[in-house]
Symmetry: C2
Subunit: 156 residues, 2 copies
């Protein structure tokens, strides 16, 4: 099971945007993270499509978060970049072969599918419990408030 | 994020093996599930490498579980087939670019990485909480005990 590598970039960008006093051009975010502009643009477009960031046009344009960082969860970002589909997809194996379970007995998911769904639910709830604001606070706790001052100064 | 499709087959095979009075040849498991023998053999080999099933050689040979179904968790099977690596892999983005965090300040994972690890932990714990014996019991609960009688009769 492998999550898109874009998730790490997208989350780091969101945390940076909490500190930005003005919209940040995609190119500046790419430069700050030393990553290809086109690659990062793809992640930002995913965030934009999901309504998490907004692209402001014009000469002072760039990306900003569409709502307070406390209202954007890590799950929102993961789903925006990695897609909403569950990791486990049941293909109804039980309905195959000589002992196939009749379709009319398969209206509810099988026990295996239920176990996988319960685990995915636990995973999603854990990601939903953490917001971008929480991450920014943890970053401050880990490295001190000067980190965001540094980002703000660099972005200016 | 996408889990290997082999997980569904492997789990269904393990549940079938709980009912088998004798080792079951890979070809019979494939026939029972109406799937290509070579594809299923690959999943059974993964289970075997992980020590969850054992291949008995000889004329009455086949696969059997290596230990009681109550001692094999869904997580064991998922890790055997899908691999042990976490879905989220941190590439240390924070150490890149003009404001890179110095390596000596990066001995502990960053807040983003911690949030992802906590979610993976929740997912694993949920899968670890369910055993193959639990699944077999749920299957009995869902369809009645005749299901396993039918499998036993077909395997004979
Ligand atoms: S039929 Fe899909 S998990 Fe059982
Ligand atoms: S540096 Fe990898 S998640 Fe932050």
């Amino acid at each position: 099971m492998k999550m898109s590598g874009g998730v790490e970039w997208a989350l780091h960008c969101c945390v940076v945007l909490t500190a930005a006093p003005a919209p940040v051009p995609a190119g500046r975010l790419a430069e700050l993270h030393d990553v290809s502009g086109s690659y990062l643009a793809k992640q930002l477009q995913s965030l934009s499509r999901a309504g998490l960031v907004h692209s402001v046009q014009g000469h002072a344009g760039g990306y900003r978060l569409t709502r307070p960082a406390g209202e954007i969860t890590v799950l929102d970002v993961v789903v925006a970049v990695d897609g909403p589909q569950p990791a486990f997809v049941c293909t109804e194996i039980r309905q195959r072969g000589p002992l196939a379970t009749p379709a009319e007995m398969c209206t509810a998911p099988c026990a295996i599918s239920r176990a996988m769904a319960a685990a995915e639910h636990a995973w999603r709830e854990a990601l939903r419990a953490v917001t971008i604001a929480d991450l920014a606070e943890s970053v401050t706790g880990d490295y001190g408030p000067a980190v965001f001052d540094g980002i703000r100064a660099w972005l200016r």
